[in-house]
């Protein structure tokens, strides 16, 4: 699949931007702070309905305006699809597919498939567990948009349950009536949460082979392993042998075990919102043991693996590389470009052309001044 055009209005620094894109390699060149990443962020937003840089929508809208507008036209197997999205920080966002208004913006997910490599990816390896959960969840939703509602339902139940625990924690004597409804929320938490845990476990086992393969390409060998570590079990379980009913039973037991502490702290202490993806290299956990180079190779291998999975689902995703080459040494640079150079569409940003490997020679687009639409889009 490839993006044939992208239009932005009041998005980040852009008052207006219209770009026509071609298959193959396109490189956006411009100094830092000129808005290259804003273009990448817009494509990412059309893919996942979230930004890789910020967790709220407000910073995405140009200062002094009320809403931002994104439009992307994507070509896949000779068919073109137009995706439009209006970002309104103060009310619900609105989405259209081929001019048809959608009941929920979630319907958009899956129409544009892209994989983004960004300097922030290093956090997958070095950051907190929530970075890795987010990585899994985004991939889960891209592969099966149904999980978007599972995720938002889980978040809602979690909020309700935490509110209940907090109100109980604030009381000297635990309120019997409040407690009687805890069981009801437990039931929903377990039902929705177990589905999420099982889906993530299956995803992790599907990632295993492509992560190992890509890591080998980037860094010459070394045994790696990925384990989904859930807070509901003491020991990690093999996803191939686990069924939904077992996950639910384990979740129940885990909740019983933490109940007392939950009342003391007023938050839910077991469940997919506290799980982690354990990454290890030569049987050592990555965090604290791996070098900077190994960490980068691992982060890239995770992203390349998610790209492989999406491609094996039948659609070749758009590859986006936001200023990553400057972070890598020459060997890793060359190997990465070797792995991706045959993709249908690759969009790259770089501050200077020297950051790019020689074989990634494509169309160059100069981004010259922040928010100046007339100069953005000019072809060198």
């Amino acid at each position: 699949m490839y993006l044939s055009s992208l239009a932005l209005k009041d998005f980040r620094s852009y008052e207006e931007l219209a770009l026509n894109l071609d298959p193959g390699v396109t490189v956006f060149i411009g100094s830092n702070g000129f808005g290259k990443t804003n273009i990448i962020e817009a494509i990412g937003y059309l893919t996942t309905l979230s930004s890789h840089r910020v967790s709220t929508d407000a910073p995405l809208v140009r200062i002094g305006t009320e809403s931002a507008y994104l439009k992307g036209v994507v070509e896949n197997l000779g068919r073109s699809t137009t995706i439009e999205l209006e970002i309104n920080p103060s009310r619900a966002n609105r989405g259209r597919i081929n001019q048809n208004a959608q009941r929920s913006t979630r319907e958009i997910i899956g129409h544009i498939r892209s994989v983004l490599f960004a300097p922030e990816d290093l956090a997958l390896v070095k950051g907190d567990p929530n970075e890795r959960r987010k990585f899994l969840d985004i991939l889960l939703v891209l592969r099966n948009p149904r999980y978007a509602s599972t995720l938002s339902d889980y978040e809602r139940v979690l909020k309700q349950r935490n509110a209940l625990l907090k109100s109980a924690a604030g009381m000297r004597r635990v309120d019997v009536s409040a407690l009687s409804t805890l069981e009801v929320w437990d039931q929903q938490l377990v039902a929705i949460g177990s589905e999420l845990i099982l889906a993530r476990m299956q995803l992790v086992s599907a990632l295993m082979e492509p992560v190992a393969r890509n890591y080998k390409h980037l860094a010459e060998g070394h045994e790696i392993s990925l384990v989904y570590q859930s807070t509901i079990w003491q020991n990690p379980q093999n996803s191939k042998q686990v069924e939904l009913a077992e996950v639910a039973a384990g979740f129940r037991i885990a909740l019983d075990g933490v109940r007392k502490r939950e009342f003391e702290r007023g938050i839910t202490l077991a469940g997919p919102h506290r799980d982690d993806l354990l990454l290890s290299l030569r049987t050592h956990p990555l965090k604290g043991y791996a070098s900077q180079g190994e960490s980068w190779s691992y982060a890239l291998a995770l992203k390349l693996a998610s790209y492989d999975l999406l491609r094996s689902d039948g659609v070749e995703p758009i590859l986006i590389l936001d200023d990553v080459f400057s972070e890598l040494d020459t060997t890793r640079r060359d190997r990465l470009s070797d792995l991706i150079s045959k993709n249908e569409q690759i969009l790259i940003t770089a501050a200077v052309p020297e950051d790019l490997p020689a074989e990634l020679d494509g169309r160059r687009v100069a981004i010259s001044r922040d928010g100046d639409s007339s100069s953005a889009g000019g072809v060198l």
Binding site: R103, S104, S149, K159, Q160, A163, S177, A178, T181, V184
Partner: protein, 199 residues
């Protein structure tokens, strides 16, 4: 900002549900220009509504008397109670003309975020009703969202073993719709709730 009483009016209107600052301003200026008789009529209705309308002693529906129209009706089947969140849900179900039993309005759904627990809903009144009247079926018609689902589950557990049928409204495909346009969750629910056809 407008002067004194005009701004007061806009602020008061803006506190109503579904009315934002722009709509409040529009309504305020409409009222300023409207015929005094029209405005007086509106004021009267607002006053009477607060004075006259109360909640039915049995089911909690809005009513002008001790008991609402439905609870007063001797033809209604009192062995069937349909539990809903709001009075407007009663109207919605009445429009179907499918149901000949009585209602019980909870006044909301369990939602700890908003500080609403079972004690804040008319659940104790429901339990009294269930204990005093012969009941054949309790229909849980709370909204099909997380909070409504939680409320229904809570009630179902509460009345377990009381010797009557407890049912939940089906959720699934809209009548007259196309299968392909249904979202995954709805279609999934419809699949779960499928029934056998017998001829």
């Amino acid at each position: 900002m407008y002067e004194g009483v005009v701004q007061d009016l806009i602020d008061e209107l803006g506190r109503l549900p579904g009315v934002g600052p722009k709509s409040a301003q529009r309504i305020a200026f409409y009222l300023l220009q409207a015929d005094p008789a029209d405005v007086r009529r509106l004021v009267e209705v607002l006053t009477t509504v607060k004075e006259k309308v109360r909640f039915c002693a049995t089911c909690g529906n809005v009513s002008e008397e001790e008991l609402c129209r439905i609870c007063r009706d001797p033809r209604r089947d009192t062995t069937m109670i349909c539990v809903v969140e709001e009075s407007k849900d009663v109207i919605a179900i009445e429009k179907t003309r499918e149901f000949r039993g009585t209602y019980h309005v909870l006044g909301g759904a369990i939602s700890p975020i908003e500080g609403i627990g079972p004690d804040n809903l008319r659940i104790r009144e429901l339990m009294t009703r269930l204990a005093n009247v012969e009941i054949k079926e309790l229909i849980l018609a709370t909204d099909p969202n997380l909070e409504g689902e939680a409320t229904a589950t809570y009630l179902a557990r509460l009345v377990k073993g009381m010797g009557f049928t407890v049912s939940r409204l089906a959720s699934g495909l809209p009548v007259g719709g196309d299968l392909e346009y249904a979202d995954e969750v709805t279609l999934g629910r419809a699949f779960e709730g499928r029934r056998s056809l017998e001829y």
